[in-house]
Each structure stands twice: as C-alpha cells, then as structure tokens.
C-alpha cells in the first residue's frame, strides 16, 4: 500500500495514541489485520510469534515523517529497555474507517488487547498463526514446544479468551 506510514499513525491514534513495546505493537497489528485492517503487511513466524518486517519498515517511515515517535523506557526490576510508540507532531487525518474496521472498532479491540500482558498477546497471536498459517491441528502441543514456560501461569487460557472476545 502507498500510505503505510500514515496507517501506522492512524491505528496508533485510534488505539488511544500510545502502544507500549515493540512486541506488543507487532501483535496488535497482526490481530487487527486478521480482523480486517487490510494493511497488506506480510507476516512470518519469529521468536515472539508472527512478525512483519513490512510493519517494522512502516514504523521507521512513520517516524521519519513524524507521524509517530518512539520513546525508550526501562523495566524497573532489571533495567531492560523497551520502546513506547506515541503520536508524533505531523498532521494526521484519521478516517472513520481503516480497512473493514471503523475507528471505533480499532479502539475497542485495542482496549481488549491492552488489558493483557504482551506475553499473553504473543501467545494469542501465535495460537492464531498456528491454526491458520501452517494449519497445525494440535496447536496446544506445538504452542508449548515453541513457547515453553510462557504457556504457564494461566496465560494460554487468557490468550484463548482474548481471541474469543476479539471474534477470532
């Protein structure tokens, strides 16, 4: 698509103006794409689940055009740094519809996703990927094989519930 940089800013705006974490922004866009965002970004499977190099490139572009800016913060416990994506200063026209989704849909879905940790989002996106891309029948076993201890602590249940609430 021609205006992928603007799309990043538009989704960020509809999602409340901020997305915390590079893993989270990837999973939010992946799940929104499945819901009808229509970005055309292609995804492949990586360490944290479905990932789009196209999206990463579009974020870089959105930063170049100042639709988006990225701040660095640190996790208090061990100082691990992470990125926070916020709206930039450039004028951005946010249309009422983004692909097949209304701006209200994007807001509602984003709120659902933001209520979960990024590990739960990672698991939810991975479950969806396993079911629909390689089409793994026993996705639970494959999920455990790929995600290890991340699948503990009730995270799989939360991920399944999130997918259900999103209608995926």
């Amino acid at each position: 698509m021609e205006n992928e940089e603007e799309l990043v800013g538009q989704v960020l705006s509809a999602a409340g103006g901020e997305i915390v974490g590079r893993v989270r922004i990837q999973k939010v866009f992946y799940l929104l794409e499945q819901l009808g965002l229509g970005s055309g970004f292609s995804y492949s499977y990586h360490h944290y689940g479905p990932y789009s190099a196209d999206l990463m490139d579009a974020i870089d572009g959105a930063k170049a055009f100042n639709f988006v800016r990225e701040e660095t913060r640190r996790r208090q416990s061990d100082g691990v740094s992470f990125g926070v994506f916020k709206l930039g200063e450039a004028d951005l026209d946010v249309p009422g519809e983004l692909g097949e989704l209304s701006a209200g849909d994007v807001k509602r879905y984003s709120e659902l996703m933001n209520s979960q940790s990024s590990t739960v989002l990672e698991i939810a996106a991975t479950i969806h990927w396993l079911q629909h891309e390689p089409g793994v029948e026993d996705w639970r076993s494959e999920l455990i094989a790929r995600k290890g201890q991340k699948t503990g602590g009730g995270r799989v249940g939360k991920a399944v519930e999130l997918l259900r609430n999103l209608g995926l």
């Binding site: 974490g21 492949s44 996790r75 691990v80 590990t119 891309e133 602590g153 995270r155």
Partner: protein, 469 residues
C-alpha cells in the same frame, strides 16, 4: 569409532585443541568430526561471500564448529564452578549433550551460509505461501536425527536417545536450563568463537574481546525471559537460568558489545558483501523459477547437477541437501553464466567476474534528512515494482536493523540473549542500564538498494537533478 588415542588440532584462534584418549566425549567428538556430514563443512565458508571484500575470510564452518566445541568446554567449566559454589550437582548428561550440540550446531548450513537460506525460503514461499521459513537449525536437527546417517549412528551407538536430546537443544526457542545457554545465550560458545575467528580472518582491527576475563567473570543467574515491556505483576513471574556477567567485568562486557557492533556494521553487513548476497539470492530465485516452469535447458545447468536436483519440486530432501556446498554452488553459477536465459546469465556472469550492482546506501551518503530519504526509498520501491518482467532483478533491496545486541530479526532481541550484569547482592541489570557507552548505541537500519544500472540509481536518487525532493 576411531581408535582411542589422543588427537590434536592446531587452531588459529584457540591454539592447541586436544581430544583426550581417556575422555569418551572427546573421542566421540573426534569420530563425529570424521563423518561425511561434518566433513562437508570444510567446503562451506564461515562468512559466505565476505571474501569478496575481505580476501582472507576464507575460513570454514568446519574450523568454526571445532572452535565452538572447544569454547563450550570452557563454559561447562564455568557452570561446574558456579554450581560447586552453590552446592548444586551438575548434570553430567546435559553437559555432554550441550558439548556435542556445540560441535554439531552448524552442520545444517547450506552453501553461502545465510544467503542460501534466504534464497531457499523465497523459493519455498513462491511455491507455497503458507510454508514457514526453514532455518539451518532445522536442517541441523534433521541431519542429527537421520536414521542411517553417520552422525546419528555414532550418537545412537554411544547412547540411545542422545541424538534427540541434542536436536531438541539446538532447536529449542526458549531455554529450559543453563545448558541451553552454552549453545544459545548472550555468551554462547558460537559467538565467543566467531567474534574472535571472524576478526582474525578478515584482518579487521576492530572488535577485540577480552575472552579470558569474560569467561572468568561469567556467573549463572535466573533472568526474566518475558518480552521487553512485560511488567504485568498479576501474572506469575517467569525465571530461567542464563549466563550473566559480574560487574567487575563491565568494561569487558562493553568491549564485547562494541566488538559485535563493529563486526556487524563493518564486516557482516558490509554493503558490498550484502550486494553479492542479494545477487546470489536473485540468481538462485531466477534459477528455481526456470526449473519450476520446465525451462531447465535455459539455465545452462545439466539435470543431474545437485543444484538442479535440489531445486526441482519435491527435490529438497535431506539427502539432496547434504550434497550441496559452496564448491557445487559455484560450479552451477559458472554454468548459469552461459545460460540462454538473459536475466540468469547476466546475474551469474556478473558474480563470476565480480561485476557487482551499484549500491544506493540509504543509511548514509544520501545527504538528505530522514523525510527526504524516506521519499527516495518509496520512489525506488515504486520503480522496482513497475519494472517489466524482463528487468525484475535489476533493482534489489536489502534491509537489516541492527541493535547493540546484533541484528534484530524479529520484534526485539530475544530475552535470553540480553546481557545482564550481576552485582554483589545478586541483583541483575541489563548492561545498557549500567553502561553509558552501550546505552549510546542506537538501533540503526541498514537499508540498501542495488542497481544493475548506475544511471537508473542516480536518476532515482536525484530526479530532475534535484536533491532528492
């Protein structure tokens, strides 16, 4: 198995490497080195096509793997020392698994190392859009687990089931114990070897690491494997053991990070090397297209050549893969230079004669601000998309994002590959929270386009002779 005696190798990085007659792991390792699967690595260069830029960089995966085995022994010693202090009994079986995994970790590399991997993935994706990428680690696991293969036979004779353990260790994405850290962590044996070996063999003056001090200051601590921003206190914390560095070695850690940064930016991601890799990918992609659509005769390569056999649909079996190496790939490319297909012949003959495409480096040298650079990128991409079928390989794109930890191949650096510093109270902090030097390294995207025609590049860079606007 070989006769039980002491075997010795001399290595340019580690000096004398000894395989003791009375050490069963050493003896098994020596026998594994002598399998056809391992000997194939003599014919695969460690740095692929970096020798186009650094003529000395002709060292092989063979030498690297032996160096990694040797380094892994030092890491096992670190674990034993740490466990002894804590009163923990080391798991000797897992030690053995990790040592053998270190030796075999690259046995699945194909010709030109990573360049072939990307080309093969592109071909697989073109044939089946739902096909997942297949990494060299997966080939490695298949080679180790091939019943009837020389590697599998030796391992199974030594201890039934150990081949499965080694393959699982090498393909596990998330660590389950400290022995995983020997083959995959911020201080794994692989990078501790290649940083030294690649620097030495390229002749680069950059990238020195204080190896002995790093090893002496490694400690085993539990780290949080969650994604970077995951601070949800409601979920139970995750912990996994990994190598961390004592704070007295923080300067050695800084040097280690800088060494990687310099080697990546100056050697691995050198624009000319990446250009050759992009041209090889385009060559193999075109070759596979022609094979797929029944135009093998236009490639100039005979049907019995292992490259044809492998790239024929359903020909990508393990047995056929094991026949491939750099030498065979170059022989095929030499034949492709005489192909009747113009696009293939052009790419292949340019590679053989080193007539490389011309680079447009968007990371530096455009003399534009970030917005102008982005507009140039979009203009070039649009031109590449609009190219007629006959010229679809005339503009090649290459983009890699590099952080202080190395290339960012997905969302973020993997949690167990962060460098964590441990203080006297066993509190952990990521190195960029402790070091201004490391913190100053900003993520950088290396975005390049390679043009067959320098005039087209210049026209797209400065349309109408203007400065990129």
């Amino acid at each position: 198995m070989n006769e039980a005696r002491t075997y010795r190798l001399r290595d340019p990085v580690h000096g004398l490497i000894v395989f003791e007659y009375n050490n069963s792991i050493d003896q098994l390792a020596w026998s594994l080195i002598n399998t056809p699967e391992f000997q194939r690595l003599r014919r695969i260069k460690q740095l692929g096509v970096s020798e186009f830029v650094f003529p000395g960089a002709t060292h092989t995966r063979f030498a690297h793997c032996i160096g990694v085995f040797h380094t892994a022994r030092r890491l096992v010693w670190v674990i034993d020392r740490d466990f002894a202090k804590k009163g923990i009994e080391p798991d000797k079986y897992r030690e053995k698994v990790s040592l053998l995994a270190a030796l075999l970790h690259d046995i699945g590399h194909g010709p030109f190392s990573h360049a072939f991997e990307h080309a093969y993935d592109a071909v697989r994706h073109a044939r089946d859009p739902k096909a997942e990428e297949k990494s060299h680690e997966e080939w490695t696991a298949e080679i180790i687990l091939r019943p009837g293969g020389a590697v599998w036979k030796l391992l199974d004779q030594h201890q039934p089931g150990i081949a499965d353990e080694i393959a699982q260790l090498l393909t596990a994405k998330n660590p389950k114990d400290i022995y995983h850290s020997i083959v995959s962590s911020s201080f794994d044996a692989d990078r501790l070897d290649y940083l030294q070996r690649d620097r030495l063999m390229t002749g680069s003056g950059a990238g020195v690491i204080d190896f002995d001090w790093l090893i002496d200051n490694l400690a085993v601590e539990d780290i949080d494997p969650a994604a970077d921003d995951d601070t949800d206190d409601e979920e139970p914390a995750m912990q996994t053991p990994s190598f961390c560095l004592r704070e007295r070695a923080i300067q050695a850690a800084e040097a280690f990070v800088l060494a990687r940064w310099h080697l990546y930016s100056q050697v691995y991601l050198h624009k000319t090397t990446r250009c050759v890799e992009a041209m090889i990918q385009a060559t193999l992609t075109r070759f596979a297209e022609l094979v797929d659509c029944g135009k093998l005769k236009t490639t100039g390569v005979p049907k019995e050549h292992p490259m044809v056999v492998f790239f024929t649909k359903k020909g990508d079996t393990l047995v056929n893969y094991l026949k491939l190496d750099d030498t065979l790939a170059w022989s095929a490319i030499s034949m492709m230079a005489l192909a009747s297909d113009a696009a293939l012949s052009n790419l292949a003959s340019r590679l053989v004669e080193r007539r490389l495409f011309k680079v447009l480096d968007c990371d530096s040298g455009l003399g534009m601000d970030s917005e102008q650079t982005r507009r140039t990128v979009k203009r070039v991409r649009a031109a590449a998309l609009a190219s007629p079928e006959s010229a679809k390989f005339s503009i090649l794109e290459d983009g890699v994002s590099l952080s202080a930890y190395g290339p960012v191949r997905s969302d973020e650096n993997q949690a167990h590959k962060r460098i964590m510093i441990v203080d006297g109270n066993r509190n952990l902090k990521e190195i960029n929270d402790r070091s201004h030097v490391v913190n100053a390294i900003e993520r950088r995207t290396f975005l390049r386009f390679f043009f067959e025609d320098a005039n087209e590049r210049d026209g797209l860079k400065n349309p109408g002779g203007q400065n990129g606007k």
